[in-house]
């Protein structure tokens, strides 16, 4: 989220698309209701199903799963055509005026530089034209046809309302009503907020879905302002934190990245991470990358990281592929390339695509370690539970460890919420029986490994032996100590410009601005610097005051970065520093500095006349309509059909799917065709449950006891399926037998002239827990991910459905 949960109340229009905020985030959704009641906001919901969010919407329109880019590109076209854009904002704060390199082009569904063999692009030409100093060329008059705005206009020109309606199945009148409501927020003092979640990410074009919306928001001047923003409603309590702390294949805490094979030296590594400004005077904050990296390495390896050994650069592993994500991991597993797997609070058998493949993969492991508070299906993947889990234990040679862990109520620590708040929580009771914290278990494994390497030697023991482990209690380091480690401290006296000592050696740092690249500072996660200072644990603060009552509580907990609550808040004021919306200012220029209710996302004393752009992390200082080479599948979003789709791509039949998506051969073989599987399946959560956890909670098991799918009345009649009757839903990859909920809330859509039916598959059931046993939705889903992030395409795939006699017929 760029903004806070409460800030949603300042919106004039709330667009929920690519998510179902009311069901997945009910308590955050209250601020939508507040916006409606106290700010007269209109709530628009665009979703394949009439959801519980839609039940309180002012306007609802259906959309076929997987066509959001077409819908939103059409919105961009509408805004440009009607000239309902926030002109001043677009000119000053976006890259609309910058000129794109000659070689870049788009034709018949492909951008320039495509290599059909590797399914990837050579992105050299996805750049600006640069002048002699290396700055991007600019044409403020927008007359140059190579201006970003003109290329974008040309790119979206194909997305006429008729085309959008044919692709998305959204009736034209409904679509135009929504365009009109959205366009109303192009006024400087009006804002729209975009609330989305996995409804956008879980597609083979997931990242581009979000980019398209971000482009809409930039056109409307809705980024950085109160009541605006791009608000990704994250799913799990600390998935933001785990991402911030870099628990992803290619990440280092604080959005630094691990080296690749070709970056053999530290200098090679830094070359692509310097982020030299692309326009004069820009902050291009990633220029400080080296400081963050060196400070991180000092945290990891302490004295063993020196200037001489390039800050222990070689102690980090290097990547030979973009990342070893989950889809790749299980692809390796089924091919016998992985021997051991550790699941920490994670249930891949239920959560990952193509469940049968996951089971096959797990069955090939030598050992599986599951750390969890609950009895997960994954830890019992070897059990025979009939058709629900048809394993043969005798043939599975995997050693399985099921380790009981504490839960939230039994430990101290911080979680990062969707709005980037780090909130401290306190232990309320002891864990049951012999359950232990994840920290204790990870430390236990580490100590045993380190002992074995000390005693026996072995492959490259250096990083293990040199890892910093100077905790007061090495067996179970305290959360406080680890939090301080992430904040970082001075390793030597730090002097300011005048030569005075600003921070004494050993003291906690106040800000990442204090980090150095000479080894005198350390920080486990630079974006968290300031969270645990000499003043104490800032994340435990509980002051609820909210200046201006605008949904910013600066002294409640702590928000990264730098306790900033609204990202890009410089863009809430015009070029001269006056708020676009005087009724809801965030920061403004008072003649000598930036003042307001939030920490400026900007140099606090940079004058408006200096021409420094508000998007300080970007090298050109502006928001990007043209994404340069940052996306693997194109600098502009383009509509590609889901990997399994009932229709051909109306825009370019030859390029049906995302051409840059990575698809493994055996996964491709598991894609079904519309002839065999004519209906669109989409998976989702229900508000009564949280993934596969709450089926273990009695109340939730009572509130939603049994697996079912949702099907519209028209298709149900056609198929002879009765409400509450049994059905068999199948995809190329597997099938499930469950109850049918025949509903008016799913209606057939007309796509490319044909009726298209959607079947909704809630995902919460499995073979452990208190609820009735079920298959789990991922028995159906395809193993393919978004081209950029490899997020599985759970939201659009092909299925068939037939009436069934129930589970007895199956056994």
């Amino acid at each position: 989220m760029t903004n806070t949960w409460q800030d949603i109340k300042n919106a004039n229009v709330v667009l929920v698309m690519g998510g179902n905020a009311a069901e997945a985030h009910p308590c955050g959704f209250k601020w939508v209701i507040e916006a409606k009641i106290h700010n007269g906001a209109k709530l628009i919901v665009v979703d394949p199903r009439f959801t519980r969010t839609a039940s309180v919407a002012d306007f609802y329109a259906p959309i076929r799963p997987g066509t959001d880019i077409a819908f939103l590109s059409g919105v961009i076209r509408y805004l440009l055509e009607k000239d309902q854009v926030q002109h001043e904002y677009v000119r000053a704060y976006t890259n609309a005026s910058l000129i794109v390199k000659e070689g870049f082009s788009f034709k018949d569904g492909l951008f320039s530089g495509y290599n059909a063999e590797t399914h990837s692009y050579d992105k050299t030409d996805w750049q600006y034209e640069l002048d002699e100093q290396g700055f991007a060329k600019i044409d403020d008059t927008w007359e140059n046809p190579r201006c970003v705005i003109n290329l974008m206009r040309q790119h979206v020109d194909r997305y006429t309302p008729e085309m959008v309606s044919r692709i998305c199945g959204t009736p034209i009148d409904k679509y135009l009503t929504i365009c009109n409501l959205i366009a109303g927020t192009s006024l400087p003092d009006k804002a729209m907020t975009s609330l989305f979640a996995l409804g956008w990410t879980q597609h083979s074009v997931g990242s581009q879905n979000i980019r398209t919306m971000a482009m809409v928001q930039l056109l409307l001047g809705n980024i950085g302002v109160s009541g605006g923003g791009m608000n990704a409603l994250r799913g799990h309590s600390n998935i933001q934190g785990l991402t911030d702390v870099g628990l992803l294949s290619n990440q280092i805490p604080g959005y630094l990245t691990l080296p690749k094979d070709q970056e053999q030296t530290f200098d090679d590594y830094m070359k692509t991470r310097q982020f030299k400004p692309l326009r004069p005077n820009q902050m291009s904050y990633w220029q400080n990358y080296r400081k963050f990296f060196v400070s991180f390495q000092k945290t990891m390896f302490g004295d063993a990281a020196t200037a001489e050994n390039n800050w222990a650069y070689d102690l980090l592993p290097k990547l030979n592929v973009p990342m070893y994500d989950i889809i790749k991991a299980f692809e390796m597993m089924v091919h016998g390339e992985i021997n051991g797997y550790i699941c920490q609070g994670f249930n891949p058998l239920q959560a990952f695509p193509e469940k049968n493949k996951i089971r096959r993969g797990l069955s090939k492991l030598k050992y599986l370690v599951v750390m969890d508070p609950l009895d997960t299906e994954t830890s019992r993947f070897w059990e025979n539970v009939g058709p629900l889990n048809p394993s043969d234990p005798a043939k599975i040679e995997t050693e399985v460890f099921q380790l009981p862990t504490t839960c939230f109520a039994e430990e101290d620590g911080t979680l990062v919420n969707s709005a980037r708040w780090l909130q401290w929580h306190w232990k309320a009771a002891e864990p049951p029986a012999k359950a232990k914290s994840d920290i204790w278990i990870m430390a236990g494994i580490f100590h045993r490994m380190r002992e074995l390497y000390r005693k026996e030697g072995g492959a490259f023991p250096d990083p293990i032996l040199k890892l910093t482990w100077n905790y007061t209690d090495p067996v179970e380091p305290s959360a406080d100590e680890l939090a301080k480690e992430m904040n970082g401290r001075a390793r030597a006296d730090l002097k300011d410009a005048s030569g005075a000592i600003a921070v004494k050696a050993g003291q906690q740092l106040d800000s990442f601005a204090q980090l150095r690249d000479d080894g005198t500072t350390e920080s486990g996660c630079w974006i968290f610097t300031g969270s645990y200072t000499e003043k104490g644990n800032m994340m435990a603060r509980r002051d609820t005051h909210d200046p201006r009552d605008q949904g910013i509580t600066p002294d409640w907990a702590w928000s990264w970065p730098a306790n900033r609550r609204i990202l890009y808040n410089r863009a809430s004021a015009d070029v001269a520093g006056n708020p676009w919306n005087p009724a809801k200012p965030i920061i403004q220029w008072d003649g000598s500095r930036w003042v307001g209710i939030d920490v400026p996302d900007y140099g606090p004393t940079i004058k408006p006349s200096d021409g420094v752009g508000p998007f300080i992390m970007n090298a050109e200082g502006t928001g990007r309509f043209f994404a340069l080479d940052q996306m693997v599948d194109g600098p502009f979003p383009e509509h590609y059909e889901p990997m399994e789709s009932p229709v051909e791509n109306l825009l370019h039949p030859k390029v049906q799917n995302n051409p840059a998506a990575r698809v493994f051969a055996d996964d491709r073989a598991d894609f079904g065709t519309p002839e065999q599987f004519p209906y669109v399946g989409t998976t989702y959560r229900l508000t009564e449950h949280f993934h596969f956890w709450t089926k273990h909670a009695l109340i939730n098991a009572i509130l939603q006891p049994q697996e079912f799918i949702e099907i519209g009345e028209v298709l149900a009649n056609e198929k002879g399926i009765a409400n509450n009757g049994w059905v068999r839903v199948s995809s190329k990859r597997g099938h499930m037998i469950c109850k049918a909920y025949v509903t008016k809330r799913i209606k057939p859509m007309t796509v490319a002239g044909k009726p298209t039916h959607v079947i909704g598959v809630p995902l919460h059931w499995g073979f452990t827990g208190l609820a009735k046993k079920g298959y789990g939705a991922n028995i159906l889903t395809p193993s393919v991910g978004d081209a950029n992030t490899q997020t599985p395409e759970f939201k659009a795939f092909l299925v068939n459905i037939e009436p069934s006699n129930g589970p007895e017929g199956e056994v």
């Binding site: 911030d244 294949s249 805490p253 070893y324 992985i338 070897w382 939230f408 620590g413 012999k434 452990t768």
Partner: protein
């Protein structure tokens, strides 16, 4: 009549109690009314501030535990409700959050370390030492056998691909940092979290 014997005894007990109150006369009305409202159950419970474990709204919660933390009092979590001070949820909780008590005390909570040997069809309880020693042994053997120090071109890569890890989605940042340190010190790259699913 489906009254079981046990039920009969219970009912008789209740009858005795109520009849002795009402003593043949004008019902038990006056006596019972004085106790008509259930006692407020949180009166002396210990209150701990925490954060809901489910979604990323991160609602503030108040966990109520029995006992006053005295040495001999083993606190039991008996109620969880929303923290009215929390700026986002302001005391509200969704159906998952309102039922947090049932996940804390779920019969599905794991109690002891268990181990399933190859080819068998059951979990057996084991000691922590057995589990962690065995895990370390398996991991070291695998790492030693499959660690890649140099790639085919002779470049230093120092990676271990044959053991992977999935990090949690509800564990704390502090757990996350420690996990990162351990996993990367081993050279692991098959490393992911729940951000995408």
């Amino acid at each position: 009549m489906t009254l079981t014997r046990r039920g009969f005894i219970k009912l008789s007990g209740a009858t005795l109690a109520s009849s002795s109150l009402s003593a043949m006369g004008f019902g038990g009305c006056g006596v019972a009314l004085a106790q008509s409202v259930r006692l407020y159950k949180l009166a002396a419970a210990k209150e701990t501030r925490n954060t809901c474990t489910y979604c990323s709204v991160a609602c503030g919660i108040l966990i109520y535990t029995t006992g006053d933390d005295a040495k001999n009092s083993h606190g039991n979590i008996m109620h969880i409700e929303g923290d009215p001070d929390h700026p986002v949820n302001r005391g509200t909780l969704c159906p998952k959050g309102s039922a947090l008590l049932d996940v804390v005390h779920s019969p599905g909570r794991l109690q002891v370390p268990k181990y399933r040997a190859p080819g068998t069809d059951e979990f057996k309880e084991v000691s922590w030492d057995f589990a962690l020693d065995r895990i370390a042994r398996l991991m070291k053997d695998d790492r030693d056998a499959h660690f890649i120090a140099k790639n085919e071109q002779g470049g230093t890569v120092n990676r271990w691909l044959t053991t992977g890890m999935l990090a949690a989605s509800a564990s704390s940042n502090e757990t996350a940092l420690l996990t990162w340190k351990v996993a990367r010190a081993f050279g692991m790259l098959v490393f992911d979290n729940q951000a995408r699913v």
